[in-house]
């Protein structure tokens, strides 16, 4: 059972956040409200009238529209074509399409050419086009499923602003998220869900602090404490990247003359707008992509491959059809530790090792022999992170290590990163989550258009400054 006797109301003109950990039932509840799923019991009322939705179209008839995490736009068609595509069978209801589009453009602060193709739009713009499509269909209640997971940094603030804008224009907004900070920033009311049940619905005024919401989400006292101060005396470089140039598959230069070091015992945060070259940079460091020029030098024990938590969990981080056990040694099974004679694998040791990771990370799995593909996304993520944290590598490259993890596991992973750094491991943390980077990093490198534009020390880094470097080149750079 994903949702158990939950009550939820949304009014027009409010932003109502639905907060909970992964798997708490937020999305399921909203899918029921928008007609994507049918409840086994319970009723839905719209304007006080009892209704029954068989399909999303039924819900749309009653003015309820849901925006899913994946975009449904067709990238090769123009914005206008995509908008019209969403209106097939309904055009008659809209008086003057271009006037209506203009009005919605203003509300959404969207400023794109209707004739440009969708693939030239930024992620944020695409999202707005998606919203516009639903608004055009006369929706009054808009449900957003984890809308901020696709965007980052300053775009998130813009997006939250738009949610406010929508509510003041008389729309009811439901904002599904697991990020407490975003929920408190924008909402009039917050409903917290845990394990399929609604824990509580709070008005803005009733919320004392984030801690309180966190405890409601997790269902227990939880102390998110991180060791922040730490002695970092030795300045021994572990990884040096010099004048690195990397092209992507299309031959476009994605990393342009990047130079930086990762020292022993430090966490270097690498932050940038998605697609700024982080991916190619990491691929070059991990040996998956040949750089055009420049050098990458490791000063660590070469017998162990550097730890690497890839962003592509499922296509890369695990072999889906293989067992949990085998995936636990995915990158080390050829080490002496796991090999017997005649090329044979030592499954006793492998099982021991896998059990350790599963216990450490709290991976939920019925046994170690089940194929990894039967685990949930969060559990797969825990397995990958656990594997890379436990491997005895001196350098760890972590790409979005907490994406898709619930609050508790995220804190745990961050804490482990810090602990590892304290033990002398060098970590390159690639993340689009400013808060996360600020929380654990010793230094923060900002990448923009493939260039490392700034490296902050922890004490001089502020979200605003970082955001400025992440985004526009036209912003005049302070003190330079």
């Amino acid at each position: 059972m994903a949702v158990d006797s939950a009550d939820f109301t949304v009014k027009v003109g409010e932003v109502h956040a639905l907060l909970g950990e992964n798997g708490a039932g937020k999305t399921t509840l909203m899918k029921i409200m928008s007609g994507c799923l049918r409840p086994s019991s319970g009723t839905i009322y719209v304007d006080g009238k009892r209704v029954e939705f068989k399909t999303p179209a039924d819900a749309m008839q009653h003015g309820i529209g849901m925006l899913h995490q994946q975009f449904t736009l067709i990238p090769t068609m123009t914005v206008l074509e995509n908008i019209k595509l969403g209106l097939i069978g309904q055009r008659s209801k809209i008086g003057n399409l271009s006037e209506e589009i203009d009005r919605l453009f203003r509300i959404l602060r969207l400023n794109v050419d209707l004739e440009s193709t969708v693939d030239t739009l930024s992620v944020g713009e695409k999202q707005k086009v998606e919203i516009l499509r639903i608004m055009l269909r006369k929706a009054r209640i808009l449900i957003f499923d984890e809308p901020t997971s696709a965007i980052c940094g300053p775009d998130i603030d813009n997006f939250l602003q738009i949610l406010r804008e929508l509510s003041s224009n008389g729309y009811g907004v439901v904002f599904i998220t697991h990020k407490i900070r975003e929920a408190t920033k924008v909402s009039d009311r917050i409903t917290v869900m845990r394990k399929g049940k609604v824990v509580s619905t709070l008005k803005k005024e009733e919320i004392i602090d984030e801690r309180m919401l966190l405890e409601m989400m997790l269902g227990e006292c939880f102390q998110p404490e991180l060791v922040k101060e730490k002695p970092r005396k030795n300045k021994l470089p572990l990884l040096t990247v010099m004048n690195l140039m990397v092209k992507n598959d299309q031959g476009v230069i994605k990393v342009n003359n990047a130079s930086f070091e990762v020292y022993r015992g430090e966490i270097l945060g690498l932050i940038g707008v998605e697609g700024s070259g982080q991916k190619e940079l990491v691929e070059a460091i991990t040996g998956l992509r040949k750089p055009v020029s420049g050098s990458i030098t490791f000063y660590c024990n070469s017998s162990v491959k550097p730890g690497y938590i890839p962003e592509e969990r499922f296509e890369m981080g695990v072999a889906q059809s293989l067992s949990v056990m085998k995936n636990a040694v995915l990158r080390d099974f050829e080490c002496k530790e796991f090999m017997g004679r005649y090329g044979r694998l030592n499954f006793v040791r492998i099982e021991e090792f896998a059990r350790r990771i599963v216990q450490l990370m709290g991976v939920k799995t019925p046994n170690l022999r089940i194929p990894v593909k039967y685990l949930s996304g969060g559990n797969i993520q825990k397995l990958i992170v656990g594997r890379e944290l436990v491997r005895k590598s001196e350098l760890l490259i972590a790409e979005q290590p907490t994406a898709g993890l619930d609050a508790r596991s995220s804190y745990f992973v961050r804490k482990m990163l810090v602990d590892l750094a304290l033990n002398g491991i060098g970590i390159l943390l690639v993340s689009s989550d400013i808060d996360e980077v600020l929380e654990v990093s010793d230094r923060i490198a900002v990448i923009r258009d493939g260039k490392i534009v700034k490296i902050f020390n922890k004490d001089e880094a502020e979200p605003k400054k970082i955001g400025m470097y992440m985004l526009a080149a036209e912003v005049s750079q302070p003190s330079q």
């Binding site: 998956l288 690497y308 072999a319 085998k326 995915l330 694998l345």
Partner: protein
């Protein structure tokens, strides 16, 4: 269950084709698994088993070698032609050399598609399939012209001397030492695929090439290796068929209604790429092939019918697997593992 449905539908088709289904099925089973015919079933199963075992490796790596038929032909031809020049070689040595030659033939025939796939990403399904035509027509040329036995009415090579034949294991049957080799190969391949680092690499590659690269595996090299392994087994199957059964190379060495190289693809998939299940499936299908031939001869069923019948069985088993899988997924869902 699936097999049951296949037989039921088969019965309808047999009836439509004008045969008595019960009589037909009697002969099917008689021809497949009765005391007199089981040795022939094993004879059929031997090449299927060899080829499928090799394909199990390749398919696990998600490399689709459709070229086993060609590799089989080339392996067989290598053995048969080299045999003509080794007429006087003493007993085990000549035989061993010829078997090695057939392996070399199969490997050579798989090599170019393997390289094309591994380094240039050229679809191996198409290349290996085309290589089958090249192989079969080249062999046809060789059998019609330079290597044709003048005294024979058919395009075939001269029969090899007896000291080059595979020894018979059970007197009075055609069961030869090849079946023993095949049975030894089953646990060996099972071990390689399931228990070794090499097998694990193959599995990882089959899961996703990106994962393989992430795990530090040289994917291109592994693609070539896996392809050559199946070429090796297909070639060996050809050599053993020549040296154990035909004692010469003929164009119909692979039965035309169920060519070994293609039937083995079905065997491998039906056997879930698991060497042990693959073995069981090749014996079963070997039986179906033989049985449907008997059915054709004894119950007045057209030979094409036998082919249709074999195809139906394979399709129904695949559908059955799918349904089972779906059911298993439902069950897991209930257990809340998602």
């Amino acid at each position: 269950m699936a097999i049951g449905v296949a037989f039921l539908l088969g019965a309808v088709i047999l009836y439509v084709a004008g045969a008595d289904p019960i009589v037909a099925y009697y002969w099917l089973f008689h021809g497949a698994f009765s005391e007199v015919s089981f040795s022939e079933t094993l004879v059929r199963a031997t090449p299927l088993l060899f080829i499928s075992l090799g394909l199990a490796v390749t398919f696990t790596a998600r490399v689709w070698n459709i070229g086993a038929e060609g590799q089989f032909y080339i392996g067989a031809t290598f053995a048969a032609i080299l045999g003509l020049y080794l007429k006087d070689a003493p007993h085990p040595f000549g035989l061993i050399i010829l078997l090695l030659a057939s392996v070399a033939g199969g490997v050579a025939w798989a090599f170019l598609p393997a390289i094309l796939r591994a380094y240039y990403g050229i679809n191996e399904i198409i290349t290996t399939l085309m290589f089958n035509y090249i192989a079969i027509y080249t062999v046809s040329y060789l059998l019609h012209n330079p290597f044709r036995e003048p005294a024979s009415m058919f395009p075939e090579t001269t029969t090899l001397p007896e000291q080059l034949w595979m020894p018979i294991v059970i007197p009075g049957t055609r069961l030869h030492a090849g079946i023993l080799l095949a049975f030894i190969s089953i646990p060996f391949l099972y071990f390689v695929l399931r228990k070794t680092a090499f097998g694990m690499k193959i599995e990882i590659l089959g899961s996703s090439r990106r994962t393989a690269e992430y795990a530090g595996i040289d994917a291109a090299r592994l693609i070539i290796q896996s392809m050559l392994i199946s070429g090796m087994f297909a070639g060996l199957a050809g050599g053993i068929e020549v040296l154990g059964i035909q004692h010469k190379m003929r164009l119909e060495i692979s039965p035309s209604i169920s060519p070994y190289g293609y039937t083995a693809i079905a065997v491998t998939l039906l056997g879930y790429l698991n060497p042990i299940l693959v073995a069981a499936t090749s014996i079963f299908l070997g039986g179906v092939i033989n049985g449907s031939m008997t059915m054709h001869r004894m119950a007045n069923v057209p030979v094409g019918m036998a082919g249709i019948f074999q195809a139906l069985i394979i399709i129904f088993i695949m559908v059955g697997y799918y349904l089972e899988d779906k059911f298993a997924n439902k069950l897991l869902e209930r257990l809340n593992l998602w």
